[in-house]
């Protein structure tokens, strides 16, 4: 489904230096797989996601999606950006319906789905509110509903639950797993919570700090469907400790710049 | 002590050869300088602006139509004419030669062009029609078509049958090869033309300077009337932009048309002094203005002008000027 081979990304900056955000990333994701990406802040996770989404082009290396070289975004991908990126002049409902409108799908049919999704993310009463009338976490949940509404085959999520409280987060984790189990989407989810990554993923991708590299891929062989009490199991704890170890062991290199 | 700087404003931004007598000639012959005056000639768009400038005392002298002076006085402006330089009205009615129109009566039922509805050409034209028993409100259509190229086109395309304008504007079209017939009312020559006007306060405080300025205009008028080509070349020198494009002969030909449109009206009749204000002309013009409701019925035109500087202004040797011009 997704194939990254030797992908690097260099950003020019205003001060003239070039920042190497991603260095020689290799990754291969099978269709229907649930991948979580963890790594230090600023290590290039968002960059990786944007490259896969086709929103950024790699400086070197190749990205293949569905066995074809990635040349640009695809409407088959649903993205949750790190920022909610809602349109302030649209109500919550209209924001969620945006993909339906853009993809020219049947608005009436999908409106019910949008309502359902809003209910799932706990915003049933808020369909007619405007983004500036919502709290930070509520905005993020609108963005999640929007990414799901057109039922894309692939989901790219950049810290989708970052602004949510533990309870809501657990609940949405379960909902996401539920949706995934039913529709077998390919999911790539960036998270800062190691627990979350183990709980959700088939495979956790650990990235090193700058310049971002994939340092390890850990297959999580916990049974499915996953339940919240698995978190207290020994196997779970072992995964978490392993990943935490991988993350802390990597020496936090200085910023890599190519002058 | 250096002379006070005095501004002389013709009420047009286009100081053509027609205006040479109060611009390029006295400048080139150094007449004003020799009289001890420091004169700056600045064109101002429109007679109203000219009157306002004189009222504000930014401008010492302005050249406006006599009717402008009278209307200003009627509105309380303290402005007076001191010198009549264009002996008869500058307004003209013309039709293309090809149109077959020759007299006022032919205009009945036609669409008539004017430069703008708010010019002296309109009352001039309305009176002319009335004199020929044509109702200017019912029997004709008025259309403001401006001047220059668009007026030429309006005439050529037949949008308008005749055009009510002023002399230099008509001359400008003649330079483009349009051939006109003049349609004149019988009283045309009885109407006064353009005058030099000043503020009443200025009149009181500059009794020395005013005749000196006027004398130079008078001398320059003789100069201009005597030698057209020399005048035109002098004018080109001072105002190079007024030289028409084309070779010397062609440019001269075009400039001559403009020159003649004005200078023809500068010649004084026998027995009349240079610049003298004639009561008959002022009264005739005032009558026309009153009939068009542009002046109150009780307006006394005689307050609008003074001849007190004419004597002084005419104290020069006309022969010497003519000789200089012929050199």
């Amino acid at each position: 489904m997704i194939e990254l081979a030797g992908v690097s990304k260099v950003f020019p900056t205003a001060s003239g230096e070039r920042v190497l955000a991603l260095h020689d990333a290799n990754l291969s994701v099978k269709a229907g797989e649930f991948i979580c990406v963890v790594g230090a802040s600023g290590c290039g996770k968002t960059t990786l996601l944007r490259l896969i989404a086709g929103l950024e082009s790699p400086s070197t290396g190749t990205i293949k999606v569905n066995n074809a070289i990635q040349t640009g975004p695809s409407e088959k991908i649903g993205i949750v950006f790190q920022d909610p990126t809602l349109l302030p002049w649209r109500t919550v409902m209209d924001n969620v319906m945006l993909p339906i409108q853009v993809l020219k799908l049947d608005a009436r049919r999908f409106r019910d789905r949008a309502k359902e999704l809003l209910a799932i993310v706990g915003l049933d009463g808020f369909a007619n509110k405007y983004p500036h009338e919502l709290s930070g976490g509520m905005r993020q949940r609108v963005a999640i509903a929007r990414a799901l509404v057109h039922d894309p085959a692939m989901l790219l999520m950049d810290e989708p639950f970052g602004a949510l409280d533990a309870m809501t987060r657990d609940q949405l984790n379960l909902e996401l797993l539920d949706i995934w189990a039913k529709t077998r989407k390919t999911v790539l989810l960036i998270t800062h919570s190691i627990t979350e990554s183990v709980f959700l993923a088939d495979r956790v991708v650990v990235m090193s700090p700058r310049p971002g590299r994939v340092v390890e891929e850990i297959a999580i062989e916990l049974p499915r469907p996953r339940t919240l009490d698995m978190i207290n199991s020994d196997a779970f704890g072992a995964y978490v400790r392993h990943i935490r170890g991988r993350l802390t062991n990597v020496p936090a290199a200085q910023l890599q710049v190519a002058s | 002590a250096r002379a006070e700087k005095l501004v002389f404003s013709p009420t047009t931004t286009d100081i053509s050869v027609g205006h040479a007598a109060h611009s390029s000639i006295p400048i080139t012959t150094k007449c004003w300088v020799n009289e001890g005056l420091d004169i700056d000639v600045v064109g101002i768009q429109g007679s109203t602006a000219g009157v306002q400038q004189v009222s504000a005392k930014n401008v010492a002298f302005t050249t406006v139509g006599a009717e402008g002076v009278m209307m200003a006085r009627a509105k309380g402006a303290r402005i007076k004419a001191v010198y009549t330089y264009a002996r008869s009205t500058i307004y003209r009615a013309v039709a293309l030669k090809s149109s077959g129109i020759t007299k006022t009566e032919d205009l009945k039922g036609k669409t008539l062009g004017v430069i703008a509805m708010s010019t002296g050409a309109v009352p001039y034209g309305r009176q002319m029609l009335k004199a020929a028993k044509i109702d200017p409100d019912k029997d004709v259509q008025w259309l403001p078509i401006g001047e220059g190229g668009q007026a030429a086109l309006g005439l050529k395309r037949g949008d308008v049958a005749a055009w009510f304008a002023w002399d230099t504007a008509v001359a400008a079209l003649k330079t483009q090869g349009l051939e006109f017939v003049d349609i004149k009312p019988p009283y045309h020559d009885a109407l006064i033309g353009n005058v030099v006007a000043v503020h009443e306060d200025f009149l009181a405080t500059h009794k020395q300077e005013i005749p000196k300025l006027l004398r130079c205009i008078a001398k320059a008028t003789i100069f201009g009337l005597t030698n057209a080509e020399k005048t035109i070349k002098m004018h080109w020198q001072v105002y190079p932009n007024t030289r028409p494009t084309g070779d010397e002969a062609e440019a001269m030909k075009k400039s001559l048309l403009v020159y003649e449109s004005r200078f023809a009206g500068y010649q004084v009749p026998a027995g009349v002094k240079w610049g003298e204000n004639l009561a008959s002309q002022w009264n005739e013009t005032a009558k026309l203005m009153k009939e068009e409701n542009l002046l109150p019925a009780d307006f006394d035109p005689s307050t609008s002008y003074t001849n007190e500087f004419i004597e002084e202004a005419n104290k020069f040797d006309a022969k010497a000027v003519e000789d200089e011009a012929r050199k």
């Binding site: - | 504000a56 402006a77 509805m117």
Partner: protein, 280 residues
């Protein structure tokens, strides 16, 4: 939406809470503009009277009011104002449509930016009065030429503001649309245009005022009706109070238009949360 508030909660009324403490101060604030206008006019009258300014240059407000009254009473002013307003507003509407459309094309297609934009800028730098006679020849002597001039003058502010506004769209919003493979047109309609609205409104504000100038310039060049004609005519007759009365009428029209547009803006660009007034 389900309302499940307890009685205690219902009792909390935001409006009551935010009650104004001193109503007379509020009233004073509202009437500042009127009081200020009166003060300006009073000084004007005094100035003219005290410094004996020629009525030909600057008539006192009292005389202007008289001229205004006569003009309005005879119906002359309103008739001509109607004509001019019709021309100005027509020009404004055309300018708005054209400005937004061309602004969209220029901001979307490099081709238009490279080819059409320089010509538009050059055309704008050309003084309208200089080409007004040509416009007269092309569009005839009727209202069309005045509408054309009005549109021409009003068009540029709309265009420039539209282009700047469309370009000022945040990359994140564009990315959102790109991620859905939204075409140029959808991106424009759904994201860029609403995003540009505050800019466009600034342009419209300028355009609305300038459209009246354009109409009047058109009327100055060749017309027998409209406020421009009346001004020229009064000016020719040296009836300066009347000229000022007409200018004041135009000014009033401008202020009203401006207010209407401001109102429309607050309704349409509601998400641009207004600054919370703190300690004025």
């Amino acid at each position: 939406m389900t309302v499940q508030a307890s009685d205690a909660i219902v009792a909390i009324d935001a409006r009551q809470v935010a009650a104004r403490p001193r109503p007379w101060l509020h009233w004073l604030d509202r009437s500042t503009s009127v009081l200020f206008a009166i003060a300006v006019l009073a000084y004007w009258e005094f100035h003219v009277w005290y410094f004996e300014v020629e009525a030909l240059l600057l008539p006192p407000p009292s005389k202007i009011v008289v001229a205004l009254w006569y003009g309005l009473e005879s119906g002359l002013f309103l008739k001509h104002l109607g004509i001019t307003v019709y021309r100005a507003l027509s020009g404004f509407v055309i300018a708005t449509a054209l400005g937004i459309a061309l602004g969209a094309l220029i901001s979307q297609f490099r081709f238009f930016e490279r080819t059409v934009y320089p010509w538009v800028v050059a055309l704008q730098t050309v003084p309208k009065i200089a080409i007004a006679p040509l416009i007269l020849v092309w569009c005839g002597y009727g209202s069309t030429s005045k509408i054309f001039t009005a549109a021409l003058v009003a068009f540029f502010p709309v265009l420039v503001n539209t282009i700047t506004g469309l370009r000022s769209c945040e990359q994140s919003k564009r990315d959102l649309m790109r991620s859905l493979r939204a075409g140029r047109w959808l991106t424009f309609r759904i994201v860029e245009l609403p995003n540009a609205l505050p800019f466009i409104f600034a342009g419209l504000n300028v355009a609305l005022v300038f459209s009246i100038l354009g109409a009047i310039v058109g009327e100055f060049v060749g017309s027998k009706d409209g406020v421009g004609f009346l001004i020229l005519d009064a000016n020719y007759q040296l009836d300066i109070p009347r000229v000022f009365a007409l200018l004041i009428l135009l000014g009033l029209y401008g202020v009203i238009c401006h207010a209407v547009l401001q109102f429309a803006q607050t309704k349409l660009v509601f998400w641009n949360e207004p600054a919370k007034v703190t300690n004025v």
